[in-house]
C-alpha cells in the first residue's frame, strides 16, 4: 500500500475515532486529543509536508463529521503538522523524547491557538476554562496516548529514509 493511501486511512480512522471515542474520554474539562497525537506522530515520522497535509485533511474531516466551525481545526492541525515536521527534520531527529516533547508543546499551542481564533471570530473563548480546567487533563491524556500512537504510526508508515535501507552514517570529526 502506498504511503498516501496508508496516511489517508490513518487520518480518516483517527478523525472518526476522535469524534466517537476519544472526545468521551475526559479528565477535568480536557478530553483526549487522539487526532492531534496522530498528526504529530505522522509529522515527526514523515516530515513537514506530509504533516501539514495530514493535519489539514484530519481537521477538515473532523470539523465536517462533528459540525464544527469549518476551517478552525484544519488551520490549527496544518500548523501543528508543519511545525512538528520541521522539528522532526531538524533538531528532533532520532531523539527518543521528541514525540513526548512535541505532543506537550503542540497541545499547549493548539489549545491557545484555538482560543485565539475563537476570540477573533467572536465565539465564546473562556481562558480560565482552558488553562485551569482543560489543559492539564488534556496534557496527561495526550501523553498517555503518545507512545502507543507513535509506535503504531511508525509501524504503519515507517520513518522517512527507512525505505532507502541505508545504515546510519555518523560523521567523525
Amino acid at each position: 500500500m502506498s504511503l498516501a493511501l496508508k496516511t489517508s486511512a490513518i487520518v480518516f480512522i483517527a478523525a472518526i475515532l476522535q469524534g466517537s471515542w476519544f472526545d468521551a474520554i475526559s479528565l477535568g474539562y480536557g478530553s483526549a486529543g487522539f487526532l492531534l497525537v496522530v498528526v504529530v506522530s505522522l509529522a515527526l515520522l514523515r516530515g513537514s509536508v506530509l504533516g501539514a497535509v495530514a493535519g489539514f485533511a484530519a481537521g477538515l474531516l473532523f470539523d465536517i463529521s462533528t459540525y464544527g466551525q469549518l476551517g478552525i481545526t484544519s488551520l490549527l492541525l496544518t500548523l501543528a503538522g508543519f511545525w512538528t515536521g520541521r522539528y522532526g527534520e531538524t533538531t528532533g531527529r532520532d531523539r527518543v523524547h521528541a514525540p513526548f516533547l512535541s505532543v506537550v508543546v503542540i497541545t499547549v499551542l493548539y489549545e491557545l491557538g484555538g482560543l485565539t481564533v475563537r476570540f477573533l471570530i467572536g465565539e465564546p473563548a473562556p481562558f480560565s476554562r482552558l488553562v485551569v480546567g482543560a489543559l492539564p487533563g488534556e496534557l496527561v491524556l495526550n501523553l498517555i496516548l503518545t507512545a502507543p500512537v507513535y509506535v503504531l504510526c511508525r509501524w504503519m508508515v515507517g520513518r522517512r529514509g527507512d525505505e532507502l535501507g541505508a545504515p546510519e552514517v555518523r560523521v567523525i570529526a
Partner: protein, 275 residues
C-alpha cells in the same frame, strides 16, 4: 497554501448563513461519515458499558440507600401531584382556559442516538443520528427523561448538531417551580459546570433545592424556543449583594451531559410547511 485554504474555509463558513453551501456541504459530509461513526460507537459500546458497570458496582451500596430515600419522597410527591393534576384539569375545564403548546402532549418525539459527544473544551455540542429525514428543523428542542439537553443548531440530511445547555451561548427563559419567580438561565462564560439563573429580583423567595423549569412564554411577535415545563435543574445556591438588584443564583443541570447516549427531539405536532 493549506493555511490560506483553511482561513478561506473559516471565513466563508463563518460569514454565510446556516443554509449556505458550506453548511450544506458539511451536512452531506456528516451524513457520509455517519455510518463509520455509528460502527465506531457500536464497537466502543461494550467497553463503555463495562466501565459503567464497574463504576456502578463501586457506588452501588451508597447509591442504593440514597435511592431508597428518594423513592419514598417521590412516592409522596407523586400522590400529591396526581391530586393536583386532577384539580387543575377540572379548574381549566371550568374556566375554558386557553393554552400554548404543552409539553409533552403537543409534541411528537424523535428518539435518536448520539453519535458524537461534546468535542473539546469549548464546543458544547453533540451530533445526533437524525436530521431532515426525520423532519427535524433548526431550534427544535432536545430533551432526555431527566430534562432539557439543548436545541438543534444545525440540520443535515441524516444528522443534526445539538447545542447543549452547557454551551456559553445557551440561554432560556425559566421559572422557579415552587415560587413562580421567572428569570433567564444561562451558562457562565467562566466555564464552570453550573448554570446561572439571572434576572430574578432580590425580593423573590427562591431557595436552594427549588426546581427550575422552562417558562415557555409567548408573545404575538416572539416566543421562547423551548416548550414550557421542561426541567432544567435544581438551585444549588442563592446569594445577593447590596449593589445588585438581582439575586445571584446557581443551578445544577438536571441532565448529566457527559454521558448522553440517546436523546429525544421534540417536534411540534402542529408543524406545517417546508423547512
Amino acid at each position: 497554501m493549506l493555511v490560506l485554504l483553511s482561513l478561506a474555509l473559516l471565513t466563508v463558513s463563518f460569514r454565510e448563513s446556516s443554509s449556505g453551501p458550506m453548511h450544506r456541504f458539511q451536512g452531506y459530509g456528516s451524513a457520509v461519515t455517519k455510518p463509520f461513526q455509528v460502527v465506531a460507537d457500536r464497537i466502543a459500546k461494550p467497553f463503555k458499558d463495562g466501565y459503567g458497570w464497574i463504576h456502578g458496582m463501586l457506588k452501588a451500596k451508597s447509591e442504593n440507600r440514597r435511592m431508597q430515600k428518594e423513592l419514598e419522597n417521590l412516592r409522596q410527591q407523586r400522590a400529591r401531584q396526581k391530586n393536583a393534576e386532577v384539580e387543575v384539569a377540572h379548574l381549566e375545564r371550568l374556566l375554558n382556559y386557553e393554552h400554548t403548546a404543552r409539553f409533552p402532549q403537543d409534541y411528537r418525539s424523535v428518539n435518536t442516538e448520539v453519535i458524537t459527544p461534546p468535542t473539546g473544551a469549548f464546543e458544547q455540542t453533540i451530533v445526533i443520528a437524525a436530521g431532515q429525514n426525520r423532519d427535524i428543523r433548526l431550534n427544535d428542542t432536545v430533551v432526555v427523561d431527566a430534562g432539557l439537553v439543548g436545541l438543534i443548531s444545525q440540520v443535515g440530511p441524516t444528522t443534526s448538531k445539538v447545542t447543549l445547555v452547557s454551551d456559553p451561548s445557551f440561554a432560556a427563559s425559566a421559572r422557579d417551580l415552587r415560587t413562580g419567580a421567572v428569570g433567564i438561565v444561562r451558562h457562565p462564560a467562566s466555564g464552570s459546570n453550573v448554570l446561572i439563573l439571572d434576572d430574578v429580583k432580590i425580593d423573590q423567595k427562591v431557595k436552594a433545592g427549588d426546581s427550575i423549569i422552562t417558562s415557555g412564554w409567548r408573545r404575538p411577535d416572539l416566543s421562547s424556543l423551548y416548550p414550557a415545563r421542561i426541567s432544567i435543574g435544581t438551585i444549588t445556591s442563592v446569594n445577593q449583594s447590596d449593589v445588585d438588584p438581582n439575586k445571584l443564583i446557581q443551578v445544577a443541570p438536571s441532565v448529566d451531559l457527559s454521558s448522553l447516549y440517546a436523546v429525544v427531539v421534540l417536534i411540534p405536532k402542529n408543524r406545517i410547511g417546508g423547512p
